[in-house]
C-alpha cells in the first residue's frame, strides 16, 4: 500500500471582483491610470478595486503603499490572511 502523501494545501480560489479593476505598481503612470479608472467607476456607478500583485511573502510595505495610493479610498485595507 502506498504511504499516504502529506496533506496538500488546496489552491486558493480567486476572490471575485466586480466593477473596475485597476492594477498598480505604485509608479506615477499607475497612479494616473488609477485616476482614470476611478473616474470611469464613478461615471458607470461601479465599484473600483485597486490591486497590487506581488511575489513577496511579507508584503507589509506593499499593503501600506496600496492603502495610501487608493483613489478616493479613506479607510485602510482589511489585512488578508
Amino acid at each position: 500500500m502506498k504511504p499516504s502523501s502529506p496533506a496538500r494545501k488546496a489552491p486558493r480560489r480567486p476572490v471575485p471582483i466586480t466593477g473596475i479593476l485597476c492594477g498598480t505598481d505604485f509608479s506615477e503612470n499607475a497612479r494616473a491610470a488609477a485616476d482614470v479608472g476611478a473616474q470611469l467607476a464613478q461615471a458607470w456607478e461601479q465599484p473600483l478595486t485597486l490591486a497590487h500583485a506581488t511575489l513577496d511573502l511579507e508584503p507589509t510595505a506593499a499593503r501600506t503603499a496600496l492603502s495610501r495610493r487608493a483613489p478616493g479610498c479613506a479607510s485602510p485595507p482589511r489585512p488578508t490572511s
Binding site: 480567486p14 471575485p16 503612470n29 482614470v36 458607470w44 506581488t54
Partner: protein, 381 residues
C-alpha cells in the same frame, strides 16, 4: 477597495476577470523592459491578452480628465477588420463609452491590396498607392453599414487605406495622425505559438501607439454567431437562360422583403457575338456591332425574366450583362461589389462524369464565395 494579490501581475489580474463580474481592467503602460519584454511582453500586453474583459492601457490620462470634466469629446480611433473581434470592439464602444460622455469616432481599416483586388475585382488594376475606386467604394460602403448597425449611429469618420506592410504599424501611425486619445482594438487572444504565427495586431498597436489603448476580447459566444437574425435586403442572381437558371430568378425574389434589391446578371465571354460565336483580338466594325447587338439581346432576355409581381412586392431590380472568361470569379466578385446578402443560383445537379466534364458554376461559387449561397435544383421529373 484595495487588494493585495499574490502572484505574477498579469496572471492575477487576468485571473480575476474570469470570476465575478469585472467590467474593465485598467493598467498603465509601463512594465517589463529589455529582453523579458521582447519574449513575454509588458504586464499591460500580457494582461490584455489574457483578460476576459476589456483592458484599458492608460498612456495619456489628461484627455480622459478633460472628457470627464465635460471640456471636450474623447477622440476614439477604432481599428476595424470586418471580423467578430472588431465587432466586439464596436459593441464595447457603444455600450460603455458612447453612453458615458460625447465621443468623436474614427473607424480605420487597412486592406491588403492583392486580397481585395481578388475579392472585389473591378475595371481598374491594382495600384501601389491608394485603392482602385471600386475597391475603396465597396470597403467604405461595407464598413459604414456594419459600423452603423453595431454603433447605432452614423456619426463617425471612416479611413480606409491599402497597406503592403504590417497593419499594426500603419494603424498606430494613423491614430497619431488623427490625434486619437484612445485606440480601441479587438483581440483574438491567441496565445503561445499561435500568437507568434498569427502576429497579434492588438499587441503591435500596444507596443507602438502613443495614445491610450483599449483591447477588447471576443466573447466566446460571439464565435458562434452574434445572436442577431440577419436581414436579406440584397440578392444577386445569375442565369445562363437554362430552365433551372431562370427558375432560380423566381426563388431569388422570394428571399426579398419589400424595399429589397435584386441584381439579375448573365455572364458572357469577351467578344461574344451569339451564344456560340465570338471574335478574338481586335474586332471588325461588323463584329463589334454584332457584339453590341448580342449584349442588348441578353439584356432584353434578362428583363423578360423579371416577374410582374416584383414591383407590387416593392423589390427594385437591376439587370446587367457581365463580360468575363471566368463566370465563377465574376459572380463572386459581383456579389462583393453589389453587397449581396445572398447569392441565388440554379444548379443542374450534375454528378460524377457529367460534373467533371461540364463543371458547375453554381457549385464553384458555393465553394469559393464567403457569402451565403442558395442553390436551386431542377424539379423532379
Amino acid at each position: 477597495m484595495t487588494r493585495l494579490l499574490e502572484g505574477e501581475a498579469s496572471e492575477v489580474l487576468a485571473d480575476r476577470t474570469a470570476v465575478g463580474s469585472t467590467r474593465l481592467v485598467v493598467v498603465s503602460s509601463l512594465g517589463e523592459r529589455g529582453p523579458a519584454r521582447w519574449f513575454l511582453g509588458s504586464v499591460a500586453e500580457r494582461t490584455a491578452e489574457h483578460a476576459k474583459v476589456p483592458t484599458l492601457v492608460v498612456r495619456q490620462a489628461e484627455p480622459f480628465h478633460a472628457w470627464f470634466r465635460g471640456e471636450r469629446a474623447l477622440r476614439i480611433f477604432i481599428a476595424f477588420d470586418f471580423t467578430q473581434t472588431s465587432d466586439a470592439a464596436l459593441r464595447w464602444v457603444r455600450s460603455d463609452l458612447l453612453r458615458t460622455r460625447p465621443c468623436e469616432l474614427v473607424l480605420a481599416h487597412i486592406n491588403w491590396p492583392p486580397q481585395e483586388g481578388s475579392r472585389i475585382g473591378g475595371a481598374t488594376p491594382m495600384q501601389l498607392e491608394g485603392n482602385p475606386p471600386e475597391v475603396q467604394r465597396v470597403l467604405t460602403r461595407d464598413l459604414k453599414v456594419r459600423a452603423n448597425e453595431l454603433l447605432g449611429t452614423d456619426d463617425f469618420k471612416v479611413r480606409i487605406e491599402p497597406n503592403w506592410g504590417r497593419p499594426d504599424v500603419r494603424l498606430a501611425d494613423m491614430a497619431t495622425e488623427e490625434s486619437a486619445d484612445l485606440i480601441v482594438v479587438g483581440s483574438h487572444q491567441s496565445h503561445g505559438l499561435k500568437r507568434l504565427w498569427h502576429h497579434s495586431i492588438s499587441r503591435g498597436i500596444l507596443e507602438r501607439a502613443t495614445a491610450s489603448v483599449a483591447v477588447v476580447p471576443t466573447p466566446p459566444a460571439a464565435r458562434h454567431g452574434d445572436g442577431m437574425v440577419p436581414w436579406v435586403w440584397r440578392v444577386l442572381t445569375a442565369t445562363d437562360f437554362s430552365p433551372v437558371g431562370d427558375r432560380a430568378v423566381a426563388h431569388a425574389y422570394a428571399q426579398l422583403p419589400q424595399g429589397g434589391s435584386l441584381r439579375l446578371v448573365h455572364v458572357i465571354p469577351p467578344g461574344a457575338m451569339s451564344d456560340s460565336q465570338r471574335f478574338a483580338g481586335r474586332p471588325t466594325d461588323r463584329q463589334a456591332a454584332q457584339h453590341r447587338a448580342y449584349v442588348a439581346s441578353c439584356q432584353k432576355r434578362l428583363e423578360a425574366l423579371i416577374p410582374a409581381e416584383a414591383k407590387e412586392r416593392g423589390v427594385e431590380t437591376e439587370v446587367a450583362v457581365l463580360t468575363s472568361t471566368d463566370a465563377t470569379r465574376e459572380l463572386r466578385q459581383e456579389a462583393e461589389r453589389f453587397g449581396a446578402d445572398v447569392i441565388c443560383l440554379g444548379t443542374h445537379g450534375r454528378t460524377g462524369a457529367a460534373k467533371a466534364l461540364m463543371g458547375s458554376t453554381a457549385q464553384a461559387v458555393l465553394a469559393s464565395s464567403a457569402r451565403p449561397v442558395l442553390l436551386v435544383r431542377p424539379p423532379a421529373e
